[in-house]
């Protein structure tokens, strides 16, 4: 009787004690549906480990992870977007993984796309193993381009601008490209193509007044000013896939999941009319943003060994290929691209090229918020309320305010470092 009372009082912990190898694995978005199909094979190979997958919706995941940390109820392992990784690393919520990687026969860092791997290294410590990658590039209508006299997708901004001009006809509601004004990834991709970093002084201040970022912002805003993109949000864009199919947009700057969307939403006859291309850069094919998700182990997990086994399993090229077949999430290992459906897929080829040329977003916990503010200010420029220069000043102003606490913590930590060794 007493044990029942105790059990119900300490609900979770009792359950873990009775079944010492039940792993709690949090997934975000649709990955959860696909990954459960990969797990039976893992559980067959490791009969003592059972995996319990919990799916978090993308919109609530960030909040849920932080709440779990605050409430001391983090899972054993989780999928984590690589822009969120710095945040949880700053909380010391994650287990460093370098030692395990060094002893692993499955996970070979050199096989991974270098920039993607580096998004998991925060201040010299490895916290995650890339699970799938995501970068934004161009989806384009090759038939429309051909009809307008272009036989290849753009490689530079200048070429792209020419094509956008030729393919836009605002009076007919036809635009060169769809750039939803409430998504920051597009502007961020252009900003990352510059030599100037987005933040300066070790992530202490914004760097939006740099010449490079202003160049990117100008190009981005000009696209709206020239009416080559409609100034609408993704709420208004509603169903961009059929509109792309109807030729409302000739280009769509978006991510790999849309390969699957276009394949399932456009009729078979139109499947040859579209393709993908790496992002054009200021003067040559440019870099894209290194996005995607990693697998992380939480520091408080009592089953780190078992969690690591699951990460190793999910990192095998053969499993990653299966994962791609199930969902279309692109693998982060070069050898996973060598076989399976990915090798011969013409629509995936541009991603393969782009992935060798990606740059991570600044690795500070505040980045997501700064990027949001950046986009809000950019939307003001698009609406004609601010000039480029005013916007750059405003972005720096907002970024500096958001980073105030970080500056204090960094200075504070440096001052107290001598007294007590951290961690």
């Amino acid at each position: 009787m007493a044990s029942i009372v105790l059990c119900s009082a300490l609900l979770g912990s009792c359950k873990q004690a009775s079944d010492s190898h039940e792993l709690v694995f949090w997934t975000i978005g649709r990955e959860g549906e696909a990954v459960v199909k990969l797990l039976p094979a893992f559980e067959r190979a490791h009969p003592d480990i059972r995996v319990k997958v919990q799916q978090l919706p993308l919109t609530a995941a960030h909040q849920k992870l932080l709440t779990a940390f605050a409430g001391d109820s983090t899972p054993d392992l989780s999928q984590l977007g690589n822009t969120w990784l710095p945040e949880l690393a700053a909380l010391h919520a994650l287990e460093p993984l370098q030692v395990r990687v060094d002893h692993s026969s499955v996970i070979q860092p050199s096989d991974y796309f270098a920039s993607i791997w580096s998004t998991n290294v925060i201040e010299g410590t490895l916290y995650g193993v890339p699970w799938y990658v995501d970068t934004r590039l161009l989806f384009y209508r090759n038939d429309l381009l051909k009809a307008a006299g272009f036989d290849a997708p753009p490689r530079t901004w200048a070429e792209w601008r020419r094509m956008l001009g030729a393919l836009s006809d605002p009076s007919q509601h036809r635009y060169g490209v769809l750039l939803p004004t409430n998504e920051y990834e597009q502007l961020m991709s252009l900003g990352l193509q510059q030599d100037d970093p987005l933040l300066r002084d070790g992530g202490r201040y914004g760097n939006f007044e740099s010449a490079g970022f202003k160049r990117a912002l100008t190009f981005y805003v000009d696209t709206f000013r020239l009416q080559q993109a409609p100034a609408i949000t993704n709420v208004e864009a509603g169903n961009p896939w059929t509109e792309f199919g109807r030729g409302v947009y000739a280009f769509y700057l978006s991510g790999p999941w849309n390969i699957g969307e276009f394949r399932s939403r456009l009729p078979a006859l139109e499947q040859d009319d579209w393709s993908t291309a790496p992002l054009p850069g200021p003067s040559s094919p440019g870099v894209g943003v290194a996005g995607g998700s990693s697998l992380v182990i939480f520091r408080r997990s009592p089953h780190k060994e078992a969690a690591w086994k699951l990460i190793e399993y999910l990192s095998q090229p053969a499993v990653q290929q299966q994962f791609y077949d199930l969902l279309g999430d692109m693998p982060p290992r070069r050898s996973s691209w060598e076989g399976g459906a990915l090798r011969d897929d013409p629509k995936a080829r541009a991603f393969r090229e782009q992935l060798e040329q990606v740059k991570p977003a600044p690795a500070v916990p505040e980045w997501e918020r700064i990027a949001n503010e950046m986009q809000l200010v950019a939307a003001q420029v698009i609406a004609g309320r601010l000039t480029i220069d005013q916007a750059a000043v405003e972005m720096d102003h907002r970024a500096d305010a958001i980073l105030a606490k970080r500056r204090w913590v960094l200075d504070h930590a440096a001052a107290s470092h001598a007294k007590e060794p951290t961690r």
Binding site: Q63, L66, E236, K405
Partner: protein, 292 residues
């Protein structure tokens, strides 16, 4: 045992629950609003600083706070009269002796209140889609240019007001209906015999008799509308250009999106102070109305 002590004994369980789950969190939030509790403090409590009224000071210097307050006041100022007018109108129609199928209409008009806001907001988003929405289609029939309902900063808030009024008027309608049914019919009878027009009957019988109900409905609606959150959250995500960010939306963003619990608590208390002041003002005004 004297009666007073017995009374406290019976009240105690309820008071304890209220204390633990209501008073304590409020006090904790008040304390939190005086600190800069954020992500870094969550990681390491040594990163927590006491900032006294710093959060409030910063908020009052933040254009977005004033913008959010402006949007909220706009929503209340336009939404409350519209909502109450719609409720009263619907209640009078339902109360009219000429009305048929009353139970059906009562249910139909009350239905939006009990449907979840997210489900209805999704439908409304389709209705007000610029290109494919029914709203613009109907306008097109009478040759009016399509309006970018949710994408234009000037139209987004009115659209949300229309949605909120539609969503909420049924609740007040039921209260008004009860109020109307409590008015003795012989008053109307006497007025009719004296030759009063329907408008005069409304002004001199219905309105005065409904006054206590109106005051209650008014206060409930105002305080409900000040807490505008779900509608912009689902319909526009605060956009376009943050034109539908309400005070509560700002609090949500600060607290749960960016985990700045210190400044989020400060937003909550500022909103509380504003709502408290408005309610007191409404009570004062109604009392003054009584004396004349």
């Amino acid at each position: 045992m004297n009666p007073q002590r017995t009374a406290w004994l019976f009240l105690a369980p309820a008071l304890v629950v209220l204390g633990v789950f209501f008073l304590l969190p409020v006090l904790a939030a008040l304390a939190l609003s005086l600190t800069d509790y954020d992500l870094y403090a969550l990681a390491n409590i040594h990163n927590l600083r006491f900032v006294a009224l710093g959060n409030y000071w910063e908020l009052l210097h933040r254009p977005l706070f004033w913008a959010a307050l402006g949007h909220t006041v706009y929503f209340v100022a336009l939404g409350v009269p519209l909502s109450m007018g719609a409720s009263l109108g619907a209640a009078m129609l339902l109360n009219s002796p000429l009305a048929t199928a009353k139970p059906f209409f009562r249910t139909a008009l009350f239905a939006p209140v009990v449907t979840t806001v997210v489900a209805t907001a999704v439908i409304w988003r389709y209705l007000f889609n610029t290109k494919y929405g029914m709203a613009n289609y109907l306008l097109g029939l009478v040759d009016i240019h399509p309006v970018d309902w949710l994408g234009d900063p000037h139209w987004a808030m009115p659209t949300i007001i229309a949605f909120a009024v539609w969503k909420n008027f049924g609740y007040n309608m039921i209260i008004f209906l009860a109020g109307l049914q409590a008015i003795p019919p012989d008053l109307y009878e006497a007025a009719r015999i004296d030759g009063a027009s329907p408008w005069r009957q409304f002004r001199h019988i219905t309105l005065p008799m409904l006054k206590p109900t109106m005051l209650m409905v008014g206060i409930l609606t105002v305080s409900g509308y000040f807490q505008l959150f779900a509608e912009p959250y689902v319909m526009t995500e605060g956009g376009p250009l943050q034109s539908t960010v309400s005070v509560l939306y700002l609090m949500y963003d600060e607290g749960f999106k960016w985990w700045n619990l210190g400044s989020a608590s400060a937003v909550a208390f500022l909103l509380f102070v504003i709502m408290f002041a408005v309610t007191v003002l409404m009570l004062k005004l109604s009392q003054r109305g009584d004396q004349t």
